[in-house]
């Protein structure tokens, strides 16, 4: 319709009458506070009812969208749960290090701090701020919040020297808990945060991502402390054993708080 047609339409008396009525009623409502508040309330109720009705109509689609959102969130949570040891940040208790908590009834966790650590030599070690006076003696295991770190090698009254797992002479008796077999860790290649798990028989099926824990026959650590995950399986048929690369949970470059595992029988009485 052209502008002239619209003008003609508006010049019809009933249309004009309606327009004037609407304007006058609008003026009345606009400048009368009680009426305005009532009309606003009424309009709000009407719009709320409309909204509720259309929301009711859309409920199945909203539920489907919600299910999709929850599936995505669930997948993210599951992923975070799978990568729990890799989570950065302060942890006050080494929960991540426990593959099996049964050992805790025989041990006490003694918190210590690193005051010096080597950086990438063949005999990596760290100096801890607690020693024999705190009940620490050579041969005890040391944990980080993520897993096993090393063993106490020497102590003085006030300090200790911890040999890391990344030390050419440190070997841990380790196990694959899924397959229930044992092996021995060593640090042959000088790559930090990597260990070599040897002497796992060829008939054992090992997959990338399998957990590696301390073994029950270890004399340094109790069984069930997490060490790392299988990163790569190199099978040497000439030797008859797997040579498994293990990515340790503990990051030598970000040790965080450490805990010495002290057997309860030898812990000094307060």
């Amino acid at each position: 319709m052209s502008a002239l047609s619209w003008l003609r339409l508006f010049l019809h008396t009933p249309v004009l009458w309606g327009i004037i009525q609407v304007l006058s009623l609008y003026t009345y409502i606009r400048y009368t506070p009680q009426v305005r508040s009532y009309v606003n309330r009424w309009a709000f109720q009407v719009s709320s009812s409309f909204h509720a009705f259309f929301h009711w109509l859309r409920r199945p689609w909203i539920a489907l969208a919600r299910v999709e959102e929850l599936e995505v969130a669930n997948a993210e949570l599951m992923e975070a749960l799978a990568n729990l040891p890799k989570v950065q940040g302060p942890v006050s208790y080494p929960v991540g290090a426990w593959g099996d908590v049964s050992f805790m009834k025989n041990y006490k966790l003694h918190p210590v701090e690193v005051i010096y650590q080597t950086l990438h030599i063949r005999e990596n070690f760290a100096i801890l701020n607690q020693g024999g006076r705190a009940g620490i003696y050579p041969g005890l295991g040391v944990l980080s919040p993520k897993g096993a770190v090393g063993i106490i090698a020497e102590t003085t009254a006030t300090h200790s020297v911890m040999y890391a797992l990344f030390h050419k002479d440190v070997h841990l008796s380790a196990s694959l808990p899924r397959q229930q077999v044992m092996g021995l860790t060593s640090w042959k290649e000088p790559v930090l945060n990597r260990l070599l798990l040897e002497y796992v028989p060829l008939y054992v099926s090992v997959s990338v991502g399998d957990e590696v824990w301390t073994a029950p026959n270890s004399i340094l650590f109790p069984a069930g402390i997490r060490i790392g995950q299988v990163k790569k399986v190199n099978t040497d048929f000439t030797r008859g054993f797997h040579a498994i690369e293990v990515a340790t949970y503990t990051d030598w470059h970000a040790l965080g708080p450490l805990y010495v595992l002290v057997p309860l029988s030898s812990a000094p009485s307060p």
Binding site: L11, T13, W17, Q21, S24, L25, Y26, Y28, R30, Y31
Partner: protein
């Protein structure tokens, strides 16, 4: 042209009456005389509808500017202007097609004037008091009924004393 002058004089008189006399004679806030309604009732029927509507709306706007609640006078007054033609045709189904040319409120008999003016006045008051008080309580209904009667009394007085042409029906 003379009729336009009459319309202006009538409108001025109604407004003056409403502003000056009504506050003195209102009955304890339960019945209000509003004889200015007669303005919309007596606008000539044979006028061009647009012109008539302009006068009706203009008078309503004038009343709105003078008296609160603003906006309600135009709204209720235009209802009278809109319904009065239909109302006459409803009660006089045998009117000729061009009855508006000869029709004048001043030519009505007292009984015809009552049937013409009172229902429209009542409808005006129903709209006005319901919207102004924003309720439909017993008090408001009483106010509608009593004010309609009171207003019609004044309308009838003005009709008898000023408007009615007795020689037409004599």
């Amino acid at each position: 042209m003379r009729e336009v002058l009459y319309v202006f004089i009538g409108g001025g008189l109604y407004v003056s009456f409403q502003a000056g006399v009504v506050p003195l004679i209102e009955v304890s806030d339960i019945a209000w005389p509003m004889p200015y309604v007669l303005f919309w009732l007596t606008l000539p029927f044979h006028w061009n509808k647009g012109l008539s509507l302009s006068f009706a709306a203009g008078f309503g706007v004038l009343m709105d500017l003078l008296f609160p609640p603003h906006g309600l006078q135009t709204f209720c007054g235009l209802w009278i202007w809109g319904l009065r033609r239909w109302w006459i045709q409803l009660f006089n189904p045998n009117l000729p097609s061009e009855w508006e040319k000869d029709f004048s409120v001043s030519s009505l008999a007292p009984g015809e004037f009552f049937f013409y003016a009172f229902p429209l006045t009542f409808w005006h008051h129903t709209l006005y008091f319901t919207l102004a008080k924003w309720s439909l309580s017993v008090e408001v209904v009483l106010q509608i009924v009593l004010s309609s009667a009171y207003t019609f009394l004044w309308e009838w007085l003005i009709f008898e004393l000023v408007l009615r042409r007795r020689h037409v029906r004599a």
